[in-house]
């Protein structure tokens, strides 16, 4: 099987995964809107939480994966790791846009403001901008070997930066709702809501996997095409 065929197979697998995840998303929407009780204090606005929190999780996962793959690339210098890191960063940026738009839509009725310089809001915004910068840098470097090395360096530095940004904005001030699940005591979210949230988390993780696979397959195809073009020229 040639590299092109393998890449096409990856794209097809990714598409299947994405379709499954999107069907799951429909189920989550229906369940969240029709079969999950309305929260007593926040009313219907709280529903967005079933999208916002999972999409935030998926985008942070995407960035973490990009950082770890960057570390891997610097050690192994495997081109596939670079393409996978790039795909993860791109999917992460897309998911971040969903996170950064659903957040303010919820924030306006509940906090009374679209945006506030809270701990989680600021740190995710800076992280988002950092990875946009990562993609901009990739776009500006023509040589693929240099591009892979430089973006891996940036990915590793981004990984090291995250704890510092978190601490900085945390000390600045915080207003974001406190964790309701991942905390030392038992989860304070009622059972039905918790199940909806966990389902949504699984769906968004799957969606990330689907997007990542498709994007990676496309990146390999692009690579193959460039190689063929270079071959024809020489």
């Amino acid at each position: 099987m040639t590299r092109r065929e393998r890449a096409l197979r990856t794209v097809r697998r990714g598409t299947v995964l994405t379709v499954v995840a999107l069907l799951g998303l429909v189920i989550v929407y229906v369940r969240a809107l029709m079969f999950t009780p309305i929260e007593r204090f926040q009313g219907p606005a709280q529903k967005i939480f079933y999208v916002h929190a999972p999409v935030a999780w998926a985008s942070l996962l995407a960035f973490a994966v990009c950082g770890l793959l960057s570390v891997g690339y610097l050690f192994m210098r495997d081109r596939r790791l670079d393409l996978l890191a790039m795909s993860s960063a791109e999917v992460g940026v897309a998911l971040s846009v969903a996170m950064l738009t659903t957040g303010p839509i919820w924030g306006k009725p509940i906090w009374g403001t679209w945006w506030t310089w809270d701990f989680r809001l600021s740190s995710t915004l800076f992280l988002f901008l950092l990875f946009v910068g990562y993609l901009v840098l990739r776009g500006a470097l023509a040589d693929h070997e240099v591009r892979a090395r430089y973006s891996a360096v940036l990915g590793v530095m981004a990984l090291a930066l995250v704890p510092f940004i978190h601490l900085t904005v945390y000390w600045f001030r915080t207003l974001h709702p406190a964790p309701v699940i991942m905390k030392p005591e038992a989860p304070s979210l009622p059972g039905v809501m918790l199940v909806t949230l966990l389902m949504s988390l699984a769906v968004f993780t799957l969606l990330y996997g689907g997007f990542l696979t498709v994007r990676y397959g496309l990146a390999v195809l692009e690579d193959v095409r460039l190689e063929e073009a270079a071959h024809e020229l020489s």
Binding site: V136, L137, A140, L161, T168, F172
Partner: protein, 224 residues
């Protein structure tokens, strides 16, 4: 050996700068302009110059310093002198240390010249706090220069390096600059040291982590 090579590289950069003074003069004039514009960019009846001062100082230092960082590798781009540097027996570590030293001196001098202007413009009495303020400036500058040197070595390979550097560098400057502003206002307000120890540790940790990381990663940037 590494130290001597590094010194030679730093001195070479500073000698180029000394003969033209282009980057230094632009950074300095830029710093004065930013300080002056920020002074007027406020409602004087609502925000006192004193309240604005810490932020203004660090915004000025950051932007003025960034002009200098761009220069460090741009001079190497002409006539492919970076290739020459790579072919020389100088190790990547020596090149990094040389560039960092040159940048530290460059940014440090710009800061030291604009600091008195800041004191005069914003009418701030800082005599007693000078040692502490200089310590914070030194700590934040090391953070800024270590990360900036690595990133400027990368962006010099791109076409729009002058625009690219701020886009990549500014997210990394969030912790050191926010920390430095927090410490600076406490210093100017003569608050006890205990109130700023947390931010000082953050700044110190950032310096150590990112200087070490920059040193390790520079090899992957410079070696073909």
């Amino acid at each position: 050996m590494t130290t001597r090579t590094a010194m030679a590289i730093a001195l070479k950069d500073l000698a180029i700068e000394w003969r033209t003074k282009t980057a230094f003069m632009s950074s300095l004039v830029f710093a004065v302009l930013v300080l002056a514009i920020l002074f007027f960019a406020r409602d004087a009846t609502a925000v006192s110059a004193f309240d604005l001062a810490p932020g203004a100082l660090w915004v000025t230092f950051t932007f003025a310093g960034m002009l200098g960082l761009n220069r460090a590798f741009l001079v190497e781009r002409e006539n492919h002198s970076l290739d020459g540097l790579r072919l020389s027996p100088a190790t990547p570590t020596a090149i990094f240390l040389g560039k960092v030293t040159g940048n530290l001196i460059f940014v440090g001098v710009v800061e030291l010249v604009s600091l008195p202007l800041f004191v005069v413009f914003y009418d701030i009495a800082i005599w007693r706090q000078v040692p502490l303020l200089l310590t914070v400036i030194a700590m934040a500058t090391v953070a800024f220069v270590a990360v900036g040197t690595v990133l400027s070595a990368m962006v010099v390979r791109t076409r729009f390096s002058e625009v690219m550097l701020p886009v990549l560098l500014l997210p990394f400057l969030v912790p050191p600059i926010v920390g430095a502003v927090q410490i600076t206002w406490r210093i100017l307000a003569e608050r006890p040291l205990a109130e700023m120890s947390g931010w000082l540790s953050l700044l110190g940790a950032f310096d150590i982590v990112f200087f070490a990381l920059a040193l390790l990663l520079f090899d992957a940037i410079i070696t073909e």
